[in-house]
């Protein structure tokens, strides 16, 4: 295995699962820790996804949110000063680097890919070819398009270029100490707050 790929795996993928171990344990408990047969539950759930376009759309939205979480994590990691040494991988041929990033994306997106395989297999068994094609297309776009963002982050490029033409409306008000955590969440963890709130809403 090439060293660059091993390092990307160690720094980005392994660490992603380590950091999100709690989330995965929770998701596993919700999806598989049921009092009745998990297989029967998931078979009926996937049958519902396959046969209802609205249900399929909701599931795709959840997958998209999960991918947003993955992408946000990877990009933040690549922009973190501790990972700035990874800039040296830009000396690799662009195509090779792209496929390395696809590898990273596949591994962080693996839980969705596993479930998608089950959805596609059941969709094909039930002759729901459109659903199967949509699931394959959706995941293919995510797996092959998201690494382009990782490439930008690796190259330390700006995601939005140019100077802001809008004036700053920051008010010079004194922030109360007890609101510091809220300011931190809204300033530094916007995406995490959004994903958490949407997930909570969907679970409810």
């Amino acid at each position: 295995m090439p060293k660059a790929l091993t390092i990307l795996q160690k720094v980005l993928v392994n660490y992603f699962y380590k950091v999100n171990a709690g989330l995965f344990a929770f998701a596993f408990f919700v999806l598989f820790g049921l009092p009745y047969s998990p297989l029967a539950f998931h078979y009926s759930l996937i049958t519902g996804i396959v046969q209802s376009p609205a249900f399929l759309a909701i599931v795709m939205l959840i997958w998209l949110l999960y991918n947003l979480k993955c992408g946000d994590y990877i990009i933040k990691q690549l922009q973190h000063p501790e990972q700035s040494f990874l800039f040296c991988v830009n000396a690799l041929p662009g195509r090779k680097l792209y496929w390395y990033n696809v590898y990273v994306q596949v591994f962080v997106y693996l839980p969705v890919l596993f479930y998608s395989v089950a959805v596609v297999v059941i969709a094909l068994k039930k002759y729901e070819y459109v659903c199967a094609a949509l699931v394959i297309l959706f995941n293919a776009i995510i797996v092959f398009a998201t690494p382009a963002l990782y490439m930008l982050a690796l190259q330390q490029k700006k995601f939005s270029t140019g100077r802001s033409v809008f004036p700053s409306f920051r008010l010079a008000i004194r922030k109360p100490y007890f609101l510091f955590p809220l300011y931190f969440l809204l300033g530094e963890r916007k995406q995490m707050v959004l994903v958490t709130k949407v997930f909570s809403l969907l679970f409810l």
């Binding site: 060293k3 501790e82 000396a91 041929p93 662009g94 190259q155 100077r163 700053s168």
Partner: protein, 210 residues
Amino acid sequence: MLQFDHVQKNYGSFLAVDIPFLKIEEGVWWLQGENGSGKTTFLKMIAGLHPFTGSIMLQGKLNIKKQRRQFVQLVNYAEAEPLYPSFLTAKDLVELYCETKGGDILVAQQLLQQLHVYDAYNNPIGSYSSGMIKKVSLVLAFIGHPKVILLDEPLITIDTAAVDTICRIINDSYKNGISFIISSHQAVQSEQLVFTGKLRAKNRSIYKND
């Protein structure tokens, strides 16, 4: 060697560096300036670590924005205060840099031996002292076939013996055609390093101080 044309770097709406035009010839250049004068930003722009407007050309033909890969292969950079994930080893880093920059692992290992950090080659970076991490980062900057090496405060943190070794490695590399831009607040003795000239970071720009 390096040519800067209308290079500007903004942090939000704050203009940090503005270089209308600057040409740096081959040699060993000493970059001086006060804290916050833009030295590190300047080096990071050349290394490709900071986005900017304008153009930076290497050897008159490689534009960092258009020929990024070739540019990155020819320009190496060592940070003033390097950081690495604590679970990686010096071996991991050397092998990564050799694979991406096309360097020789044996040469890198010899440099680590000269700086007395080879004994910890297989140990995680988390077990290194800050001086050892600095030495590893300096060795990484010499890996491959660079034309320019950018060293941000290379002489801080390391012991005096290592300072002499680094200066000798820089002198040897310069004889082999590698140019350097070295930022340093410390006075360097003329018998250690002979500078081609000085660059001064002042008034948000970089000037040649011949």
